[in-house]
Amino acid sequence: MPFLETIYHLRTIEQIILYNKMTKVLSKEEQETILFLESQYENEMLEYPGQAPDFDGEAALWGAKTIYFAAQLLLFRDHKVEELYTFLPDFKGEIDAKAMLSADLCLRFLPQIILELKRIDADDLAIPILEKYMAAFSYSAIGFDVVSETVNVDIVFSNPCLKQLYLNRVVERKAEKTALIDSVQKELLAGFGDYKHVFWNEL
């Protein structure tokens, strides 16, 4: 099961290892991957503040596939440009808190792949597609300049758990551009209390 193996390595040792070349993922393997990602999500849930949103299998699988084919595209370019969308399809479901957190299991590694794609060829047509996904799943994109500042924080802030996780990641990655968005900055300062100089003096 090459797809599951790749995702397993990504989640456990944070490395991408590819075992095949641009082949379709079988539906049996998809199911196994969703189960694996669900167990990963349950582990991470322990660290989530408040009531964590439910796991969204579809979004998690979509995130895994997106990163899988994005990594493949780094190496293999035998296909035509028109075929890019067949490998990197849009997310069909609704992008809400649970979709954003479930997809983030794998999508959090995507910015590094985009940077690598840019390094090889800045005009690569796969880049705008992936950047569009990053803009939609803004939680995964925090701190990487792959997305412009037009982040829509409304979806993020509609769920208290995701909102806190979002703020945590902004601080952890010192994502200044995101931190300077008015609503985000207000929440951050509230979280720092009297200790802004300890946590993030420059903000």
Binding site: L46, P49, G50, V171, E172, D194, V198
Partner: protein, 242 residues
């Protein structure tokens, strides 16, 4: 730290009759204080502001404290000068000015049965709190929605029915605070009655430095092994109490 009148800081002097010099033994370990002899009197200066109000000073009988303004000495709080500061005083650190005389060694004395009881006493010197003893419910309501950057700098341990949090900055929750002195956690606002002995006490209680010793205001204490402290996180809290 000599305080300079030119900086607008007040300079205080303590005067005591030479026959009562033994009472100064209580402040002999204040390294900043200097002392000089002048005929029948003894003078001390260079106090920190907080030391002037300390219990050690208040307990010294027959002493007077003067404030120096334009080379005239005013009784503390008084507007009338009392006298001039004697000139030509020879100042030396108090610890050298009052040497300790050890009792003569007694060759016929064989038992060492004296015991020193350890007490804490309120202290005037401010120390920043380092630990917080709180209970489960207090922490739970806070931690469930806490930002992780507030938890990361902290360590924690469960102590009987309470929870001890260590590190700065502290969480904004209710509890008793402690400050860190060597490996002792002393209640905020308290210090050992014999502060100089803290190194010796530590050597007796905690030779290898593996423990933190937490003191209560009733002079009881308990030990915590340092390597049983865990980093504080939401999952650590949830897994402990699930």
């Amino acid at each position: 730290m000599a305080e300079d009148t030119s900086n607008g800081l007040k300079m205080y002097f303590l005067e005591i009759s030479k026959k009562h010099i033994d009472f100064l033994g209580a402040i002999r370990d204040w390294e900043n204080v200097k002392m000089a002899f002048d005929g029948e009197f003894v003078w001390a200066k260079d106090f920190y502001p907080e030391q002037l109000n300390a219990i050690e000073i208040q307990q010294i009988p027959f002493h007077s404290i003067y404030e120096l303004k334009e080379n005239l000495l005013f009784k503390k709080g008084s507007l009338l000068p009392v006298k001039k500061l004697p000139s030509g005083l020879l100042w030396s650190p108090i610890i050298r000015a009052i040497p300790v005389t050890l009792p003569k060694f007694n060759h016929n004395y064989f038992g060492i049965d004296q015991r020193l009881e350890l007490h804490l006493k309120p202290s005037e010197i401010e120390n920043e709190a380092y630990a917080l003893l709180t209970d489960y419910n207090e922490l739970k309501t806070y931690i469930e929605t806490a930002p992780d950057f507030r938890l990361k700098p902290l360590k924690w341990i469960v102590v009987k029915k309470n929870i001890l949090l260590l590190g700065k900055p502290m969480l904004p929750i209710k509890g008793d605070t402690f400050w860190l002195k060597n490996n002792f956690l002393l209640p905020a606002g308290y210090d050992f009655e014999h502060s100089v002995l803290s190194k010796t006490i530590e050597q007796n209680l905690n030779l290898l430095g593996e423990h933190l010793i937490v003191w209560n205001t009733d002079n009881s204490c308990f030990k915590i092994k340092k390597d049983s402290l865990k980093p504080l996180s939401i999952s650590s809290f949830r897994l402990t109490f699930s």
